[in-house]
């Protein structure tokens, strides 16, 4: 039945003849293990084609989408880590195999006439493969690829005469961006691979024309199918096994996900990228973030070479020496004519062994100098570990979604890293934050802000330097002393605890737990302790006091903090007693309105100072100082709020509203 079908198909298509043409090849001297390298290269290239096509179905070239889509492949899609890992390590495997193949060729003398053309085709293939490595390195649009490729294109830009023009053409404009990625992508998927396919066909056709270069005096006969094919296949599978091992013992960043237990085996393997398997993905490309850039390991020798030629002489390392090496490689088969053949043979071996040794030595020197115990290397290692942390953080954040503005916004809008920095720049001059910032001398310590523990401590000891101790706000401590609350009995302590627990829930009329015991007890204790004599709350009857302290509606939540930061002099915050600057967005289009509003508030506060107040001048000065608005953008403020509240979600939102320049 199957034979009948095969016969029919062969009659209609003649496929058997094609298969025979491909497989039935005479190998003088017999099949050999050392002939496997070319087939291994073709095999790994086919793996690259398959995995590359698969990656193409999910990769999105573009300044704002490339990193995010690679993240998605690596961490979200079924087996994405494996497909991408094979592709990543496949490219490195090809570079290694190229070296093996070349060495085998010169040892066999296969570069000598009449096989010069095939040597040149091979050199073309090598160039195209290295081109694929270079273009592919940029595509994830991560810090590593971004900065390393900057160097490569800047080298092109430093070439004499046509350099700057060439750089612009390669990069797709004056600076890196969308068009750089689309051009590199097109080169990587649509130009270089078909070129390689054509070159491989030519390479094989010319190879067939002259046959295997049998060793002198070789005896025996062999055929490609199955003698050599089996060896090729087994060697290819061993190579593939090594690639698979590199992927599985890869060096990706792991990502924390809730509820990974209970997943099926399939699901566990499909998402093994989340446990750090597969190729590495660095932090998203961000021109504003410095990066200790190094090229991929197989270009490290060029990087090292560059160190020996400084300034004007740089071109010797970037162009002259690599160019000369290429030229010598090109002419080496021409040394095999006539009586020069023996010289050509040995020259080929010496050249390739010499080149490989130089590359290995330079690579080692580059690695050694980065790992050395020198100040420069220490600095680099420090920067590397910082970059490593940023990558891990970005990948963790991306799990909740990447902003449309681009993946670099993940870190720029991360409350835990950026928010911390902003707290340092804007708040730490006065406030402290235990274990983070210890230099503030004018205001409270904000660690654990809004928590039950901190609120309880505040109620028990408002005059402590963690709270109002460093400020001029003495009223609450005085009151506590007057009422004998500085040494509370057990009953009072219990009431204070209830209030603290209630406030830690950021109570509002709309609170979901308004019917719970915690809420009701806290509410009752609030009045019983007399807090409502000074503090207002939307759910509490005001007490009899006249002193106005902050309105505690929603105490310690985002909304509460927002008013505290933007209008600390608001009647619902510290009013005339406020000493904290008003922090507002003064760069957006609402700047004018904000400044007018602040000026009006200032007038209102100044008007509250009684004419006969003995400390009128002092009060006036404080109000004038505190109502000088300080710029803090809306996005930065939200980052600080989330940092303080331990809310690690990325703050979405673009840069201030701007438009194209007027025409």
């Amino acid at each position: 039945m199957l034979d009948n079908l095969k016969n029919w198909l062969d009659h209609r298509t003649g496929y058997r003849k094609i298969v025979e043409l491909l497989l039935i090849e005479h190998i003088p001297g017999g099949a050999k293990w050392r002939y496997v390298w070319g087939s291994c290269l073709a095999f790994v290239f086919s793996v690259q084609l398959i995995t590359g096509l698969l990656l193409m179905t999910a990769y999105s070239p573009g300044d704002s989408t490339a990193w995010a889509s690679v993240y998605y492949i690596q961490y979200e899609m079924d087996f994405g880590w494996l497909i991408r890992g094979l592709h990543h390590f496949g490219s490195q495997t090809m570079v290694v195999l190229l070296g093996c193949h070349m060495l085998q060729i010169v040892i066999a003398g296969a570069h000598l006439p009449p096989r010069e053309v095939n040597w040149w085709l091979g050199l073309g293939l090598m160039g195209a493969v290295l081109g694929l490595s270079l273009t592919g390195y940029l595509l994830p649009w991560d810090q590593k690829g971004y900065w390393a490729t900057q160097v490569a294109t800047n080298i092109a830009g430093n070439l004499p005469v046509l350099g700057p023009w060439m750089q612009k053409i390669i990069v797709g404009g004056p600076v890196y961006g969308h068009h750089t990625l689309t051009r590199f992508f097109a080169l990587h998927v649509a130009i270089l691979p078909p070129l390689i396919v054509v070159l491989i066909i030519a390479h094989l056709a010319v190879f067939r024309r002259h046959g295997v270069t049998a060793p002198a005096g070789a005896e025996g006969e062999g055929w490609f199918w199955p003698d050599q094919a089996f060896r090729d296949m087994l060697a290819s599978l061993i190579v593939f096994g090594v690639m698979l091992g590199l992927v599985i013992f890869g060096h990706g960043h792991s990502i924390e996900r809730p509820a990974r237990e209970g997943l099926s085996l399939w699901s566990n393997i499909a998402h093994a990228g989340q446990r750090g398997l597969g190729a590495n993905l660095d932090a998203p490309a961000d021109p504003s973030e410095p990066y200790p850039a190094r090229p991929e390991w197989y270009f490290l020798f060029l990087f090292q070479l560059l160190k020996y030629f400084e300034g004007e002489k740089e071109i010797i390392g970037t162009v002259v020496i690599p160019g000369l090496a290429g030229l010598v490689l090109f002419v080496v088969p021409l040394l095999g004519y006539g009586r020069m053949r023996k010289f050509g043979y040995w020259f080929g071996i010496v050249l390739i062994v010499g080149l490989l040794t130089s590359v290995a030595t330079l690579t080692y020197l580059a690695l050694a100098s980065d790992a050395a115990d020198t100040p420069e290397a220490k600095l680099l290692q420090g920067e590397k570990s910082k970059a490593h942390e940023r990558a891990a953080r970005a990948i963790q954040l991306a799990g909740d979604g990447v902003p449309a503005e681009g993946a670099h916004m993940l870190l720029r809008r991360d409350p835990m890293s950026r928010g911390r920095q902003l707290f340092n720049d804007n708040c730490a001059g006065c406030h402290r934050l235990k274990n983070h910032f210890e230099n503030g001398e004018k205001a409270s310590d904000l660690s654990q802000y809004g928590s039950e523990e901190r609120t309880r401590r505040l109620i028990m000891n408002p005059g402590h330097e963690d709270f109002f101790g460093r400020t001029e706000l003495k009223r609450m401590a005085e009151w506590a002393e007057e009422e004998g609350l500085d040494e509370p009995d057990d009953e009072t302590k219990k009431l204070m605890g209830s209030v603290a627990r209630w406030l830690a829930g950021h109570p509002r009329k709309t609170s979901k737990n308004r019917a719970s015991d915690d809420y009701k007890n806290g509410l009752a204790a609030f009045s019983e302790l007399g807090c409502n004599d000074c503090h207002a709350h939307e759910d509490v009857e005001p007490g009899t006091g006249i002193f106005r302290a902050p309105d505690l509606t929603g105490y310690g939540d985002e909304e509460y903090l927002r008013l505290m930061i933007m209008a600390p002099d608001h009647p619902a915050r510290y009013g005339v007693r406020n000493a904290m600057p008003v922090l507002r967005d003064l760069e957006g289009p609402t700047r004018g309105v904000t400044q007018q509003e602040i000026a009006r508030n200032r007038e209102a506060l100044l008007a509250q100072i009684a004419a006969d107040d003995p400390r009128a001048d002092q009060r006036r000065k404080r109000i004038m100082d505190a109502t000088q608005p300080v710029h803090l953008s809306d996005v930065d403020r939200e980052l600080i709020i989330r940092f303080l509240l331990g809310d690690s979600r990325v703050v979405f939102g673009g840069d201030p509203i701007t438009g194209p320049p007027p025409k």
Binding site: V47, I50, T51, L54, T57, S60, T65, A68, S69, Y71, Y72, E76, M77, D78, F79, G80, L82, I83, L86, W225, P226, D227, A229, F230, M233, L234, S236, L237, F240, L244, W266, A270, A398, D400, G401, V402, P403, A404, F652
Partner: protein, 186 residues
């Protein structure tokens, strides 16, 4: 004919070559298929009620279209506040409010209101003010609409400040086109 040792060695090699090739095809092929079928793991986002306006915004039997905003996940991109779609709101006599997606049940065009009835500009699917499919006899030509306009769940939420003017909230969902039955997209 008795097979020679050479012959059986070569037969073994042929089989081994095929087997190794098959092994490799499996190691790459199974993950590749899993990877290509990955979108099966991405369910449609569950609809949640979103505020689109107030009851007083609507006049009786005058359809009004509103946009509905929510978090939108687009594979690797997250839009925290994006337009999910458009909705026709109709306030019926007696105060009942109904909501319909603007997506045509025929082939997914965007349904317009022409002052009297709802018409999809793509193939002329037509619905009356009650958002029911207009019959062929009434229309005088075939109506490509396979079913009535797709209604959406709606709830009126009281505003403590304004008791007589509640908020309108709609749950946005997508439905499969082309069927007589209304089936939610999974």
């Amino acid at each position: 004919m008795q097979p020679t040792p050479e012959h059986s060695r070569r037969t073994w090699m042929k089989w081994a070559t095929h087997a190794l090739g098959g092994l490799w095809a499996m190691i790459v092929g199974i993950p590749a298929v899993g990877y290509l079928l990955d979108p099966r793991n991405r369910p449609a986002a569950a609809g949640v009620f979103k505020r689109v306006g107030r009851l007083s915004d609507l006049a009786e039997n005058v359809p009004q279209s509103v946009v509905l905003r929510d978090i939108r996940r687009d594979a690797w991109t997250l839009h925290p506040n994006d337009v999910l779609g458009r909705v026709w709101l109709v306030r019926r006599p007696g105060g009942k409010v109904e909501a319909f997606t603007t997506i045509c049940p025929h082939l997914g065009g965007s349904i317009n209101f022409d002052g009297k009835q709802f018409v999809c500009p793509l193939h002329g699917a037509t619905f009356n003010l009650a958002c029911k499919r207009v019959s062929e006899t009434e229309l005088g030509k075939p109506n490509p609409a396979p079913r009535d306009m797709d209604s959406l769940e709606i709830q009126l939420v009281a505003d403590p400040g304004q008791d007589d003017d509640p908020f309108i909230e709609v749950k946005y969902e997508n439905f499969v086109q082309g069927h007589a039955d209304k089936v939610k997209k999974a």
